[in-house]
């Protein structure tokens, strides 16, 4: 099989290294120019199972704000992002909210939960 070169920008940290991959079909033969081990892990995953952290908001009843920010505890498969956002739009929770509170458990069968990013007290 012919070897093919591919460039990836690592998003594991703010440094943003440009990784050089040597591919043969779907197989990674070589990963170069990552400045830490996270880069190698990122490249493996980005090729075979690309994932992203997702942050959004859900509606809150009786809170000091009408929304509370939420995020996925772990990165979820990239192709499921829009489906997750659609589900989050239907969620409405009751204030007070505690940071880390599960807003949506086991989203789309991933085993990953969406949790509140902050505490939100009840409006006086």
């Amino acid at each position: 099989m012919t070897e093919e070169m591919k460039k990836l920008i690592c998003i594991a940290c703010p440094k943003g290294c440009t990784l050089d991959l040597t591919m043969s079909g779907d197989t990674i033969l070589k990963i170069e120019n990552a400045s830490c081990k996270n880069g190698y892990e990122y490249a493996e995953r980005e090729i075979h199972d690309p994932r992203r952290m997702v942050a959004s908001t859900v509606k809150v009843k009786d809170g000091v704000h009408p929304l509370v920010p939420v995020y996925t505890e772990k990165a979820i498969p990239k192709r499921q992002i829009h489906e997750l956002l659609k589900e989050l739009r239907e969620v409405e929770i009751q204030a007070p909210v505690e940071m880390g509170q599960v807003v949506l458990a086991d989203v789309l069968g991933t085993g990953i939960s969406v949790v509140a990013s902050r505490s939100l007290p009840k409006a006086m």
């Binding site: 920008i9 998003i11 992203r52 942050a55 959004s56 908001t57 509606k59 929304l67 920010p69 990239k78």
Partner: protein
């Protein structure tokens, strides 16, 4: 909680810089630390930065902005940092007097032994980059749109063009896409990305949002509401290239075109500003040219990582805490002379304890009102009368004196303030 008239350290602003400064001032040994915040809650701009990516350096965790802030809010409150929310600072003097106004507390003057300025920065606006065209609704700074979308629950538009490839602009491109809007284009006048590369990947590439480098807005079109913008390519000198114009229909234009440290209060206090950074000149403890006034975070220069703002806040807070303690120690070495009943002022204003030896010290003063009767000019330490002198009358036009003698020195060494008053005999 009742707000005191005097604090060891007062921090202005409760974003990441302010919170870190308050925490480290406490840890450095400051007894009372107060944060003054104009919003109704602590946390600053982090509260609207709901995306993750914060704390990778400090916590080795990938946190959303509000979660990052909450950790420091919890730390500060558990250390006993006091807060004054929904309160605007109007003025600061070089003598570290802070004038504030608030619905809850009214108008107050608060004195601080040390101050940490942590007001952060502001977004550059349309007029600051001189964008031509009409002036319809729909032209917003990216941070403004972020606050509406993430905190207040309003969508600022449906179809966006974003000018500037800074981080907030790219993050808002993704965020608005998440909420169902269409981001038509991100334009960047420079030949390179001005935000982080990872944000280009995870905010623009992931959602097929087009970035055009070397492009800017030639004019805004629309009367009541933005209807379109005219984009144009520029050369290396930012001259528009004729023939490259393109009309992009949209209902909103977001500006992510830079941040400016917010230093109006710093200037009032006599803090010198570096014209390059737009922030105060500081030393390695983040102390400004005004003794006891420190500055932390984006108010000094604009950072790209919040972790570094926190680090700067820790350094400034530590400096401020130590300065306040030194001030207190120094204050304990001297005795302040306070003008009491019918005394307008006393000279000297203070006596250094180390100078209390064999020489008597004469206190000079003027009275406020004439008293045409025999009076005592008295010196008190709060509990005891130290010395007094009789006069047949006192008048504002005639200076009055009283002398502290060496036999009084042992008694006054125990105090840090003496009150001088004139009372009827």
């Amino acid at each position: 909680m009742a707000i005191k008239d005097m604090y060891d350290v007062v921090v202005i602003g409760s974003g990441p810089g302010g919170l870190a400064a308050a925490i480290s001032a406490k840890k450095a040994g400051a007894d009372d630390v107060l944060i003054i915040e104009r919003d109704v809650e602590l946390g600053g701009i982090l509260l609207q930065c709901i995306h993750n990516g914060f704390g990778v350096e400090i916590f080795k965790e990938d946190l959303p902005g509000p979660g990052y802030a909450q950790r420091f809010i919890n730390d500060a409150l558990s250390l006993g940092v006091e807060t004054m929310l929904d309160t605007m600072v109007l003025d600061i003097t070089s003598q570290r007097k802070i004038y504030v106004s608030s619905k809850t507390y009214g108008f107050r003057i608060i004195e601080a032994r040390a101050i940490v300025l942590a007001m952060g920065c502001r977004e550059r606006t349309r007029s600051q980059i001189r964008l031509p065209g009409t002036r319809p609704a729909g032209v917003y700074t990216a941070g403004m749109a972020q606050r509406w979308t993430n905190v207040e629950g309003y969508m600022p538009g449906k179809k966006f063009v974003i000018l500037g490839s800074g981080d907030i602009g790219m993050i808002m491109a993704r965020r608005l896409t998440f909420e169902g809007a269409k981001v038509e284009r991100v334009l960047e006048i420079m030949p390179f990305l001005t935000g982080l590369t990872r944000n280009y990947v995870q905010c623009l590439l992931d959602y097929d949002i087009t970035l055009q480098l070397h492009h800017t807005v030639k004019r805004i079109i629309g009367n009541d509401r933005v209807e379109a913008i005219e984009a144009v390519q520029v050369d290396d000198k930012w001259n528009m290239v004729p023939g490259t114009e393109e009309i992009i229909p949209c209902d909103s234009l977001l500006l992510s075109v830079g941040l400016i440290p917010e230093n109006e209060l710093s200037r009032m206090a006599g803090v010198l500003i570096d014209p390059v950074t737009g922030g105060p000149f500081v030393d390695e403890t983040f102390q400004t040219n005004v003794p006891g006034i420190f500055a932390a975070g984006n108010v000094v220069h604009v950072y790209d990582l919040v972790d570094w703002v926190t680090e700067a806040g820790f350094a400034a807070g530590d400096g401020a805490g130590k300065f306040a303690i030194a001030q207190k120690k120094k204050a304990a070495q001297s005795i302040n002379l306070i003008a009491g009943n019918n005394v307008r002022y006393v000279v000297p204003h203070r006596i250094e304890k180390e100078n209390l030896k064999d020489e008597p010290i004469r206190l000079q003063m003027r009275v406020r009102q004439p008293m045409e009767e025999p009076v005592w000019v008295e010196v008190h330490d709060g509990d005891n009368l130290i010395t007094r002198k009789g006069e047949r009358y006192v008048r504002p036009g005639e200076m009055v004196t009283v002398t502290l003698k060496p036999k009084d020195f042992d008694a006054i060494r125990k105090t840090d303030r003496l009150t001088v008053q004139v009372v009827p005999r």
